[in-house]
Amino acid sequence: MPHRSDLLTTALWVAAGAVFAFIYAPLAIVILYSVHDGSIIAWPLKLGTLRWYGVLAHDTSLLTAAWASLKLAVLAVMIALAVGVPGAFVLDRYDFPGKGAFRRLVMLPLILPGIITGVALLSFFSFVGLSLSSGFPLVPGWPVVLGHGAALTSVVMTQVYARLQRFDRAQEEASSDLYANEWQTFWQVTLPAIRPAVLGAALLVFTLSLDEIAVTFFLIGRQNTLPLQLWGLLRRGITPEVNAAATVIFAVSLLTIVLWSRMMRDEKVSD
């Protein structure tokens, strides 16, 4: 006779399985389609070819777009770190009028729909007269670089600020008590304490920038980013090549997220 808690356990497993299927089944299908041997996707699938990855590797427009996305993401990370880390220190250490309001405003680009941020940045750049293609081909365009940087600075600021709030300032006092000046204390004690948060936030910004569409759509100039290029391809139908590209992006994102969560775990240990 099955025990009541056995039934309950089974029900829970079924429910959990359903939730996971709901979230991950589409991903699995994309991956399956990417190794399907045939230019038209139709069941039954003939699995086991990597030729779409070969096609992908020779598609110059997609590769150029991927290279543009990569440059964009790296620059967005640099801007977000350059503004976000000092900003987090200011929020943590100094009192100024309107500080509470400022802290909430910093979060705004994360909360606002991308379309609003995109429209706002577009009208700003046309107001200051910065062409959307300026900087091309060195960068995909300065407006989109600045736009990603501005929208994602809040990620760095909130992550580093949260870490600083939990940091025991007595460590800095101990350092200065042990003959270290302000710079030595920063490099030897404070930076190692916030390093996991800084690296984690950088990875997060990198991933977010890599697959950002809404803000990018408004600010992009002559050169498409990878997500926009894929979106353009999709209008002509879902090809196995698109599935292969999506699988590659998924793998890169997964790797970044795994790295990020490992860093967060290391931080917990060192607390």
């Binding site: 007595a170 460590q171 006092e173 350092s175 200065s176 008590d177 042990l178 003959y179 000046n181 304490a193």
Partner: protein, 374 residues
């Protein structure tokens, strides 16, 4: 005064205000070289503020701090010849025990061939030699405390500041560490300025105790002086346990006060008072320690012992036993006087037994009673 000549730390009118709150209200203090001085007080009394001002973590609003004759008020912490042991240790979590201890030497650019042996010596001193490679989080609280201590003494400071260093340890470990700290201080000859709220710790370890209250020093002296001759009711109450009786001064020489009795005031003799003692007629408090009180089951004559018998004179008051608490080595007897004031007396378990509700006589030697003002 010799104490001033050999003073290593001098505070002159030191004041610290945070906004409108005065944390430290113009304290002056001279700490002798090699002395173990405890700054004792309740939370908010200004004891930690005092320490932070000496270390340089906070800036004084007013006043001067001299270390070895040099005014350090304008110097940042890393230029002051003192080291600190922090309450929560504040070890660097990303460094090994060895790197934590060597930090101060590295920052002072001590040649690296000297750093190794000095770190090893300091770790041996706190019996942590085998733990040099560990990370702080792999150590117990007591071991982390020792690392913090080693990290400070490895720099051979003239003055060591300790901010409730044993506060996070359990009672047994704390007692052991008290002895160890005291031995280390004697052995190294370093001046200790030790902040604590634990009066027992202060009595056990210190050469002198400064009891702080509301940003001022309420009384400064050797532990025994604070215990036996408290200057105020606050001191008597804070240091150890005491019984406080409301009394009226009748005479100053010999000192006699009266206690309310069932049939009018009863005169009792007290310890000789100084020139600043309260005048006749003043309402003050008589402090008698529980271990100075005796309980007699028999009814004895009340009042002050006959004059002229000297310091053996015994005061006697009628009382009723309210409660008896057995505490192993001692028995605590709570007895109420006629006016309702309850006194606590310590007795040995072997003393003649008394029971709750018994009418008894409470007695104490006249010189064990100290007059204190509010």
């Amino acid at each position: 005064m010799t104490a001033i000549v050999t003073a290593i730390v001098e505070l002159h009118g030191l004041t610290k205000r945070f906004g409108t709150f005065t944390a430290l209200d113009g304290i002056s203090l001279a700490v002798a070289t090699g002395e173990f001085l405890t700054v004792l007080g309740a939370s908010g009394s200004g004891k930690t503020t005092t320490l932070r001002l000496i270390a340089g973590f906070d800036l004084a609003t007013e006043g001067r701090i001299l270390i070895d004759g040099v005014d350090v008020v304008a110097l940042p912490p890393f230029k002051r010849p003192v080291n600190t042991v922090f309450q929560q240790y504040a070890l660097f979590p990303h460094m090994s025990v060895r790197d934590n201890v060597g930090y101060g030497l590295r920052m002072q650019r001590v040649p690296s061939r000297e750093i190794g042996p000095r770190v090893a010596e300091a770790l041996d001193m706190v019996q942590l030699g085998p733990f040099a490679h560990r990370a702080p989080r792999q150590l117990s609280g007591g071991q982390q405390q020792r690392v913090a201590l080693a990290r400070a003494i490895v720099n051979r400071p003239r003055v060591l500041l300790l901010d409730e260093p044993l506060g996070a340890l359990d009672l047994k470990l704390r007692r052991a560490m008290q002895l160890e700290l005291k031995q280390l201080q004697t052995q190294l000859g370093i001046t200790f300025i030790y902040v604590t709220h634990d009066q027992e710790e202060a009595l056990t370890m210190s050469d002198r105790v400064a009891l702080m209250r509301q940003g001022r020093i309420e009384q400064l002296g050797p532990p025994r002086e604070l215990y036996d001759r408290p200057r105020s009711r606050y001191v008597a109450d804070f240091i150890g346990e005491t019984n406080l009786l409301p009394v009226t001064v009748t005479d100053r020489d010999p000192a006699v006060v009266t206690v309310a009795g069932p049939a009018g005031p009863i005169p009792v003799h007290v310890a000789p008072v100084g020139a600043d003692a309260p005048r006749a007629g003043a309402q003050v408090w008589l402090s008698v320690r529980p271990e100075s009180l005796t309980i007699e089951a028999s009814a004895a004559p009340w009042g002050a012992g006959s004059p002229g018998v000297g310091r053996g004179r015994l005061n006697r008051l009628p009382a009723t036993v309210r409660d008896i608490v057995y505490a192993g080595s001692v028995v605590k007897v709570h007895a109420a006087l006629a006016d309702g004031v309850t006194l606590v007396a310590l007795r040995a378990p072997a003393d003649p037994p008394v029971a709750t509700g018994d009418a008894v006589t409470i007695g104490w030697a006249a010189d064990r009673g100290v007059l204190v003002v509010d």
